[in-house]
């Protein structure tokens, strides 16, 4: 009988806002976070900002990871951050990955996206960053 005293696993939502169908990256990240002991709620493709925020709140996640390759990040990410704030959930850290130009990344970070991973990021780096972001939030 496993005792309850173990530390609770980090719960993280991985979702793809917008219309592109390239979910390979999101799946690879989901798998890596799972192997790091996290509970990954994989919401999948074509999620609206409203659906993502609703899922994050129902699942009571510690962290949200967004993947996008369509180029619509400047429209969708701030929308998600605003909805979280509106729901008094602005403290849930949001990180992102995908094809995001440096200039956009700078602006998104200023807007509140906590970390942005481009092509070539190692899974190890993503896992460590996710762990670091989730811990203080609990």
């Amino acid at each position: 009988m496993p005792s309850k005293a173990k530390t609770a696993p980090i719960r993280v939502l991985i979702a793809k806002p917008g219309l592109d169908g390239h979910d390979r990256g999101a799946k690879v990240v989901a798998r890596a976070l799972r192997d790091a002991g996290m509970e990954v709620i994989y919401a999948g493709l074509r999620q609206t900002p409203e659906e993502i925020v609703r899922a994050a709140l129902e699942e009571d996640v510690d962290l949200i990871g967004l993947s996008i390759l369509s180029g619509a990040h400047m429209a969708l990410f701030p929308k998600i951050l605003a909805l979280l704030k509106k729901e008094h959930a602005g403290r849930i850290p949001v990180f992102a990955g995908g094809i995001i130009p440096d200039e956009d990344a700078r602006r998104l970070k200023k807007a509140g996206i906590r970390a942005i991973f481009g092509p070539g990021t190692t899974l190890d780096e993503i896992v460590r960053t996710a762990q670091g972001l989730a811990r203080p939030a609990r």
Binding site: M1, P2, S3, K4, A5, A8, P9, R11, A30, R31, L33, R34, D35, A36, G37, M38, E39, V40, I41, Y42, A43, G44, L45, T48, E50, E51, V53, R54, A55, L57, E58, E59, D60, E87, H88, A89
Partner: protein
């Protein structure tokens, strides 16, 4: 709810506060101390909603079926809480909870609450806390609670201890009729559902199940319905839900609702005591020299395990 002593979180859940509900579920899952007073305060508000379990092997379409069913139920105005359980890794403890992908609905529909759960080391198809999470959804006022188990094998029947109606979901070509004679999964069905009925072979699967049901002595006044469904070419959902309702009506008519509930709650109480005793014993084994000596004897083959267990048990009861 027990009046003024109820913690604010419990009152918020009854008021329909979805955040409070989501947080309380986390607390229950994590075994956090704040879960106790919430569950205690809400217990009188539970036992109201039918809890419908969906179990069956991996890939038979349980998630898609539940998604379609939720749409069907919402059309008739009923509110639904859904719990979807997926396995935790025995290696990392991590989990990918993917049932939400199949779930499509309007993001502003407060008549549905969907929660993914990891099994967290429990065997049998659900997590150790799934029953209590179902209770929270019940207390929050949802008309129905649907529970999806992990893709289950023949002996994963823990849903039996949680659900008022168990739907066993199968697909064509899972095996010949001998499979239906085997013990376990097939014995816990209150409703059989042959999903993916758009595929060839679903009539044959239904026939095999009819044979099984006609042989079964289990219910004299209740014949287990066998429903064919498809979410690909939507069909059978009305029939499936009618079958669930016919079982719920049977529970009331026959008095089995009360006896079943009593048996499930007895199991739960006994299980809790057993867990406590187990934890207590394990802790004693680590610090108690006499007990370590007992184990040494078993290792040395001078005492057998049964006799050691007997001494341990007697010593424990003598101490009180």
């Amino acid at each position: 709810m027990t009046g003024v002593r109820a913690p604010p979180a419990a009152r918020a859940i009854v008021r329909g506060d979805r955040r409070a509900l989501a947080r309380a579920i986390t607390a229950v899952e994590n075994g956090s101390p704040e879960a106790d007073p919430i569950l205690r305060a809400l217990y009188p508000n539970t036992g109201r909603a039918p809890i419908v379990g969906f179990t069956g092997p991996l890939g038979v379409g349980k998630s898609s079926l539940i998604n379609a069913l939720v749409g069907h139920l919402r059309e008739s105005g009923r509110t639904v809480g859904v719990i979807a359980v997926d396995p935790s890794s025995p290696f990392s403890g991590g989990s990918v909870l993917g049932d939400r992908i199949r779930f499509s609905r309007r993001a502003d529909d407060d008549g549905v609450f969907f929660r993914s759960m990891a099994s967290r080391g429990a065997v049998g198809g659900v997590a150790g806390t799934t029953r209590e999470v179902a209770r929270l959804l019940d207390a929050a006022g949802f008309d129905l609670v649907l529970v999806e188990t992990v893709g289950s094998g023949q002996v994963d029947i823990a849903i039996r201890d949680i659900a008022t109606t168990r739907v066993v979901v199968l697909v064509p070509h899972l095996g010949d009729e001998v499979q239906t004679l085997k013990a376990g999964l097939f014995e816990i069905a209150d409703v059989f559902c042959v999903n993916k009925s758009d595929l060839p072979g679903s009539e044959a699967a239904q026939r095999d199940l009819m044979e099984l049901v006609s042989l079964g002595p289990k219910h004299a006044e209740y014949r287990i319905p066998i429903v064919r469904t498809s979410t690909f070419q939507p069909s059978g959902l009305t029939e499936l839900w009618a079958a669930v309702e016919s079982h719920e009506a049977y529970l009331d008519r026959s008095g089995e609702r009360t006896t079943g509930e009593r048996a499930r709650l007895t199991q739960e109480i006994v299980g809790r005591v057993r867990d406590r005793v187990g934890v207590e014993l394990a802790a004693r084994l680590e610090r108690d020299a006499t007990l370590r000596h007992l184990i040494d004897q078993v290792v040395a083959r001078t005492l057998d395990p049964r006799s050691a267990a007997e001494r341990l048990y007697r010593g424990r009861s003598a101490r009180r």
